[in-house]
Structure formats: structure tokens, C-alpha cells
């Protein structure tokens, strides 16, 4: 019954639209409605992902090469799992957070709809379907970015649209090129450029197509020089920054590029070409660039956003190594970074929610005032820096290993970039930790400044601490995930 796969995609979209129409007057009613929808959808998507057969379900067939179809494979399950679970966590967090932003009905409608759209990206069976949901993701998340509807929010929203849609339309060029020179547009492990009669003599165009796809879909993964929308989109409410701009949207970009490299163009076709080196080079540039910008930035959310820019390129770098090991590294970092970065954003949101402070130097002495929040922040920061045995080290190790084994000279430069970036990450995250725990001001000054600074309530702290605990647990014991990623990367799952 592969048509069941449609439910996790269209159920939230329908329910989100219904929420717009229902427009609950009572907050409690809305919260019950939203939590039922989101949890039901998580349960359904997980159950379907684990039980449904791996067959294609075609919803609409345009022509023999073009159709809107859905199919499960290992990669879609990984992405679907990350998104489904974190979506539920983020929903509970937003119940509390959105109290101070207002317009909750609209927010939760689009928040719910985006869940379906992201599931659509995860479960799509071919490039056209993915392109459809990729465009819809921009449309569905735009109202969330422009939530405040003031000047800053609407200019950030316009920037977001400009970058994302331009990117997707360059992705569309790549789709057209693949359609012309490839055997089909269905995701096939190893690529679709199997028809040598079509391909021979047109390699340069196809490589340009790959470049278009990488930078086009890479816009959502904030590749340099198309990263700028991400820090600006920080004007969105924090749950949006946390879930969409650290997990769902940006990982959709990574997911799309994984599909493009390993399932469309094929690693064999690309490896060793100028196209591979160009994309790898840009990923390396972004790694260092993002970290340096994060260090310069004093606004907490923007600092974390630049950190995301840098970390996304860890994954892109790993993917452009174009070996199965590279894919393992990319996937592992996708999972670990999602967990860590969403928690860091939750912390930033908790600080903004409780105190309204948005800048790094306003956090003096917070370790004492917001103990739970700052513990979550410290542990996840150390994870992101890559201090063993916490989460981040495993993925960085895998990426470096893949880089060394690939024997590409540029990849060795990439390892250097990883080291530099780790150093910068330490600097920009530890600055906050040190300010929080070892304040320069005296106790009396602090007591006055942080008079009403307290930890938020359970709706916010439980998601943060829960994710932190998860990150510690699986930082120490990452094997089950790595095994699955290896199976996927070798095309066996």
C-alpha cells in the first residue's frame, strides 16, 4: 500500500489549511489541535517509513519521464526521521515561545503545513517531485520568516524568496539537462547518466548542469556566496530559526545535493572532474568563512546562523568527496548538527523570550541565573566544537577519514579548513560560555542586572535538556547510526 506515503505529506498540509480557516479563539484549543496533528503525523510517518515496501507510488503522471511520485529509500528515511522527531520537539517549544510573538494561529498553520512539505521532499521519488516540494517549502515558510511583518522582517522575507527561488530555478536548469541526457529523473543509486549514447560528447553541459544543481539547491544549504539569506532570516521567531533554519530547510538543501550527487549525476561521473573540485573548493571556503563571520557577529542568533553556514559546508565538503565514505560523513554530520544546533537555537530563544537580550555581551553571569538553559548550551557547544566523547567529533572524524582516503589534494586542504574552523568554533562559542560562568562584573552588579532572569518553564527546558541528553548519549555511542549510514552510502539500504 505505497499510497499511504501520501498521508504524512498531505495530512499536515490539509490540517494547516484547516487551521487557517478554523482560527481558534482559545490558545488551549489550538495547542491541542496542533499537537495532535503533529504527533499523529510523526507517528504515521515513522510507522510508514519502517513498514511500507520500497515501491514507487505515482500521484500524477505528466509524461513517461515526468511524474509526481513518492518512494522510500534509506536516505529519505534518515531525513524523514530527523525532521519528524525534531518537529514534535520544536512544536512544544513554540507553544511557549510564540506567546510573546502573537499571530499564533497563522504561525502554527504554516508551521504545520511546512511539516508536510518537508516530508514531501523526503519521500519524493524523482527530481521533479522534489523540485515541486522544494519550491513549496519556500512558499510555505515565507510567512514564517516574515512573521513580524515589520520592515526588517519583510526585507528578510524578500531576500529569502529571491535567494531560494533563484536557486531552485537554477536547479530546474539542471533538471532539464538531466532530462535530456539522462535515462530518467528517478533517484537511482549511482546516478541516471547510464545512457552513453545520449551522454557522449555532451559531458561539459552535464557538468555545468551539476554546477547549476549544486549552487541552485545549495542556496538552501547556504553555500558561499549565497549564504546571506540565512543570517537575515534570523528575524523570524526563534522556533523557526531553530527548526527551519538549522534543521528542516537547510537540511533539505543538503538532502537535495546528496540526491543530486549520488542519485542523479552519480559519483562516478563527477569524481575527478573540474566540477567536483570547484564545488569542493567553495564548500571549503564556506567552512572558514562562516566560522569567521560567526566570530565577528555579536548578535546571538546571527552568530549561530553563521555557525550553521559553516557547519552545512562541512556536510557539503564531505558530500563532494564523492565516495561512499564521504556520504557517510555528510549524513552523520547532518544528524549530529541538527540535534546540536536546534538546541543551541532553543537556548538563544529562551534567553530572548525571558529577557529580551539578543547580544553576546549581555549574557554576563547567566550561568547562575539560567542554570538549566546554560548547561544545555555548554554541552551542545562542546559537542559542536568536537570535544570527545560528545557528538560532533564522530562526524568530523568520519569526514576527515573520507577526505584522506579519497587522496584528492584539495580534500587535504579541506581537513585543514576543518581544523581552523574547529578553532574558530571554540572561540565564538566559548566566549558565550565564559561570559555566562565567569563574569567580569561583581556579584552585586550582576544581581541587579540579572534580577528577573530565570529559566523558562518546562515546555522550553524539557526540549532543550532532552536533546542535550540525547546528544551526550549518542555522542558516546554513535555506532547504530553510523552502521545505517554506511548501509545507505553503499546502496544497500
Amino acid at each position: 500500500m505505497p499510497f499511504l506515503l501520501l498521508i504524512p505529506v498531505f495530512f499536515p498540509i490539509a490540517m494547516g489549511l484547516a487551521l487557517l480557516a478554523l482560527n481558534f479563539k482559545e490558545r488551549a484549543q489550538r495547542q491541542i489541535y496542533v499537537s495532535i496533528v503533529i504527533i499523529a503525523n510523526m507517528v504515521m510517518s515513522i510507522v510508514f517509513m519502517l513498514t511500507l515496501p520500497r515501491t514507487t507510488f505515482t500521484l500524477v503522471r505528466f509524461t513517461d519521464k515526468l511524474s509526481i511520485s513518492f518512494k522510500l529509500d534509506g536516505l529519505s528515511i534518515v531525513f524523514g526521521m530527523i525532521v519528524s522527531i525534531l518537529w514534535v520537539v520544536a512544536t512544544f517549544y513554540s507553544f511557549e515561545y510564540m506567546k510573546h510573538e502573537g499571530k499564533e494561529n497563522k504561525f502554527f498553520s504554516f508551521f504545520t503545513m511546512s511539516f508536510g512539505v518537508v516530508c514531501g521532499i523526503a519521500f519524493s521519488a524523482n527530481l521533479i517531485t522534489m523540485y515541486l516540494f522544494y519550491e513549496l517549502l519556500t512558499v510555505a515558510t515565507l510567512p514564517l520568516v516574515m512573521h513580524a511583518m515589520d520592515k526588517r522582517a519583510s526585507s528578510a522575507g524578500k531576500k529569502y524568496v529571491a535567494f531560494s527561488i533563484t536557486g531552485a530555478s537554477f536547479g530546474f536548469i539542471a533538471i532539464m539537462i538531466l532530462m535530456n541526457f539522462g535515462a530518467s529523473l528517478d533517484f537511482t543509486y549511482g546516478g541516471v547518466l547510464t545512457n552513453m549514447a545520449l551522454l557522449t560528447g555532451h559531458e561539459p553541459i552535464v557538468q555545468i548542469g551539476y554546477i547549476c544543481a549544486f549552487f541552485g539547491f545549495g542556496v538552501k544549504a547556504a553555500i558561499f556566496p549565497f549564504y546571506n539569506w540565512l543570517p537575515s532570516a534570523g528575524v523570524a521567531p526563534t522556533p523557526v530559526s531553530a527548526l527551519l533554519h538549522a534543521v528542516a530547510v537547510v537540511n533539505a538543501g543538503i538532502f537535495a545535493i546528496t540526491r543530486v550527487i549520488y542519485y542523479c549525476f552519480g559519483a562516478d561521473f563527477l569524481s575527478g572532474t573540474w566540477a567536483q573540485y570547484l564545488t569542493m573548493f567553495m564548500a571549503i571556503v564556506t567552512i572558514v568563512f562562516g566560522s569567521s563571520m560567526a566570530l565577528r557577529e555579536n548578535h546571538i542568533k546571527r552568530r549561530l546562523a553563521y555557525s550553521t553556514v559553516s557547519n552545512l559546508s562541512y556536510m557539503l565538503f564531505s558530500l563532494t568527496i564523492m565516495t561512499p565514505e564521504g556520504m557517510v560523513g555528510g549524513l552523520a554530520h547532518m544528524l549530529f548538527h541538527s540535534v546540536l544546533k536546534i538546541t543551541l537555537f532553543f537556548v538563544a530563544g529562551a534567553i530572548i523570550y525571558k529577557t529580551g537580550r539578543e547580544y553576546v555581551d549581555q549574557l554576563e553571569g547567566f550561568g547562575r541565573s539560567m542554570p538549566k538553559t546554560m548547561i544545555a548550551f555548554s554541552i551542545c557547544s562542546m559537542g559542536l566544537i568536537g570535544i570527545p566523547p560528545l557528538m560532533g567529533i564522530t562526524s568530523k572524524w568520519l569526514i576527515s577519514k573520507a577526505a584522506v582516503e579519497s587522496q584528492i589534494p584539495l580534500a587535504i586542504v579541506g581537513i585543514a579548513a576543518l581544523i581552523v574552523s574547529a578553532l574558530l568554533t571554540t572561540l565564538y562559542l566559548f566566549e558565550i560560555i565564559i561570559k555566562a560562568y565567569f563574569p567580569a562584573k561583581s556579584k552585586e552588579e550582576l544581581a541587579e542586572a540579572n534580577m528577573d532572569v530565570k529559566d523558562p518553564n518546562g515546555l522550553m527546558t524539557i526540549p532543550m535538556l532532552g536533546l542535550t541528553a540525547f546528544s551526550v548519549l549518542f555522542g558516546i555511542w554513535p555506532d547504530p547510526f553510523i552502521k545505517i549510514f554506511e548501509l545507505i552510502s553503499y546502496g544497500a539500504f
Binding site: 479563539k25 499571530k103 530555478s169
Partner: protein, 568 residues
Amino acid sequence: MHDMPFIYNFPFFSILLTLIGGMSMPFFRNGRVAQKINMGIIIAVGVMNFILFCNLVSTGEHFTYMMGHFPAPWGNEIRGGPFEALMATVFAFVMGFAILGGVFNIYEDVPKKKQYLYFLMMNLLLSSMIALIYTNDMFTAYVFIEINTLAACAIVMSKDSGETIVATIRYLIMSLLGSGLFLMGLALLYNITGHLLMESLQPVILQMAESEQYYLPLTVVFAVTTLGLCVKSALYPFHSWLPGAHGSATSSSSAILSGLVLKGYIILLMKMMYRVYTPELLAKLHITDAIFVLGIIGMIMGSIHALRERHIKRMTAYSSVAQIGYIFMGIGLNSEVGMMAASFHILSHAITKPMLFLAAGGLANVSGHSYEFKDLKGAAHRNKIAGVAFVIGALSMIGIPLFAGFPSKLFFSTGALHSDYFRMPLVLIALAVSTALNALYYLPVCINIWRMKDEPGHGHGHGSDDHSASHGGEPEAVHAVHAEALGHGSISHAVSHGAAAVADAGHADSGGHELLHDTDGAHEMHHGKTGITPAFVVSMVVFIASNFGLGIFYGPVMDAIRKGLELL
């Protein structure tokens, strides 16, 4: 001619019926009666052409029809094939629903005594467009171009305001310039060839081209006639008349002008390209190159102009300039695929743009008849079907799969991949950039019209009170809130919203924004009529359905177009 099937008379019937129907209207001098006659005729025309289309597609035939059985050079000929029949069917369909959807505004905008004349002009417009589609004779084409121009000017002017009169004068001047150029080209053509019938012209022209002595006069003729039609179909940079005319007319007029009238000339141009000039010759004389470059520039510039607009109908009108650019770019690709893409885009734009214009009109009806963005805030909540239609139209314009705009984009890029290395990157990049620009001006409008009614009171300023003092940028936000509240709608709206904002500010609980829902009722009362008539809803639903229909089942349509172009 005795064994000619009866249905081959249909194009002739269509033209004649619309003309006679139009002429009957002055006898009644009544808008409502005229509208009924007009609608009946449109349905008849649509049905006849649809039957003809089905027949021609299944048999794969085309025919020439001599009016009054006089052979050339005295007689006048009609030439029909699947391509022409398809276009005529769609034109009748779109026109019918565009009038149906805008009928509320027609009766409101057009002075009562002149309403029957409005429908008369609609009849003339349809008649001239069908004649342009079917004609086989260059001079007949010219005559109907002029009729078309005058009727189009009349339907712009029918909304009796200073703005429309200025717009009409500009339109008239540019339009007459276009038809003047066409006439000049035609005179030259007749002078050097001695023919006016498309069929007889082509061999003579080909002969001349072979001798290579007539390159200069042929280039001039081709360039001048093409230029004339380009001016009339608002190819950038000859678009200056369009935003005024389409932006200020009543909704139905804008819908029909943008969706159909512009395309009538393009279809004539395409027919001339195939049946008179031949694509090879046009390519040799670099006419297609010029069209191609102007098309690409138009795609981008139209959107850039649209980006600057704060008036929803003018913005949509500039978007038409961009879409016309797409069509000419497809023609300029100078290949079968490019031509097919252009033809398909004529159809997809013909069903999308009228929907957008009608939806914009519907939104304005519930916002104090203002088309300014600031007045349209939240308009979609007051007219939901128009809001939905506008969003769907916008998504279609961006080219998201499942909507009618997507196959166009698909075929344009296929066309690009099959063309030379000069055109391919240009088209692909222009498509990508233009997609993004479309999104940039349509999506903010969609968000604007779906804004919640209570938003003016809910900027940043609505934090829970324990931290609002330390909230960065607070005074600015509050200021913006007030400015927004004051700029909202007509004065009475501003008062009601202002009062609401004050009430809200006193309400410390952040859940308080639900208070504002009762302002909705005030809106309704103030306007009395909302314009959400059953006719409007039906027309919107039909346009939405046909948008999805064309977006999903574009395969058969494309096959028909391919067949039609082969038979041209």
C-alpha cells in the same frame, strides 16, 4: 466545394454571428439584454470551434474556405486547422468567463446608458480576434487589426474616468502606430509581390529570396510588419501603453486585453511566419534574432517594472509585459520546440492572467475600490475565493509544478536545450532570473492580501510585559504600528483600526488580538456590496480548475499544438 463538411463553415459563422449579434444590441439599448446576447454568442462560438477543433485533430486535416465562393484574387479566404481552432476555442472560453467574473464591476464602472455598447465592443473584439486567427488574407488581417484596436480602446475607455481617458489616448496612439507600420509593410509587400493571400505570397517570396536581389526590401517588409505586431502586442520596449490601459480599465477589460487581445496579434504573427515568410528566411534576415533578444529583455524588464509597482493591477499588467517576452523569446528560438512552447504559453497565460486580473478586481471591491497594496491588506479574508485564485495565479506564474505555468517553463527550457550555444545559456538564465523575479513581486502581494486583520496592532510591540522594556527597537516598532494603522484603507478604516489598536494596547494579555475580529463586520457594512456574486465565484472556480487542468494534463494539449503547427 460541394463535398465540404458542414462544420468547415464554423469559423465563418463565428465571425458573422459575433458581428451581427453586436449590431443587434443598439436595438435593445439595455445592458442586461446585451450581456445575455453576448454570452449566448460566446457560448455558441466556443462550442462551434470546439467541435471543429475535435474534428480537425482527429482527422488531422486543414482547410481553406472561400468566402462567397469567389476564388482569389478577388475573394477572401479563411484557413482553418487544429491550431487555429484550438486558439479560437480557448479565446471564446476565456472571454466568456472573464466577462462573467467581472460583470459586477462592468455594471458598476460603466455608465448605465453605455453598458450595451460595452458588450457590443466585446462582440467586435471577439469577432476581430477570431478573424485574426483564421484569416488567410493579409489585408483582411489588417482590417480586423483596426477593428480590434478600436474595440479594445473602447473597452478601456468605458470606465469613465480621467485616468482611463489618458490611458486610452496613449493606447490609441501606440496601437495606431503599430497598425500603421503593419499597413506600410503590407503596401510594400503588395508592391513587390502583387499578392495579398498568404498562400500565393509564400512562393513568390521564396523565389525572390533565392534570387538574392530582394534582400533589402524583404528585410524591410518583414521587419516593419513584425514590428507593427510587436508594438501592438506590447513587446518590450514598446510596452509603455500597456500598464496604463490594463491597469485602469474595468476588471473584465483588463483580463481580456491581457489574456487575449495581445495574443491575437502574436497568433497572426506566428501564422505569417509559417505561411508567408518561412522560419528559415526570417532566421537568415535576423528577424528572429531581434525578436529573441527583445523577448529576453522584456522577460526581465517587465518583471523589474512590476517589482516597483504598488498598484496591484499595474503590477499584474507589467507581469504581462514579462510574459509576452516569454512568448516572443519562444518564437525567437526559431525551432519547432520553441514555437510549441510559445503557443502553449499563449494558452497558459490566457487562462492565468484573466484570473489574476479578476481576482485583483474582486479584492479591490472589498477594499474600497482601491488597488493600492496598503489598502488591500487582508483583502483576501473579505473575499476568500479571490484570494485563493490570486495565490494560485501567482504560483502558476512562478511556474510551480501542477500549475499551468510549469509546462510552459518546461517547454521553453527544452526548446533552449535544443537550440544553439548562443541561445541556450541566455534562455536558461533568463528563465531562472525571471522565475525569481516573478516570485519576488507576486509572493509579497499574496502575503499582503492574506494578512490577518489584526496585524496592525501586533508588530513587535506585543510582548508579554515583563520584558517589553528591554526589547530592542521597541519605539521604532510602535511607531511603525501607528503609521500602519493610519495608512490602512480609507479614513473610516483607519479610525476603526486605530481605535482597535488603542483598545489592544491596553490589553496586556497577548491573546487579546482576537478582540479585533469584529472590525470585519464594519468593513462589510461600509461597502454594502462585496461583489462576491455567484457569477464571480463560478468564474474563479472555473479558472482555478482550468489552471490545474492545463498544468496536469498538458500532454494532449501539447500534442494538438504540435499537430496544428505541422499543418500550418
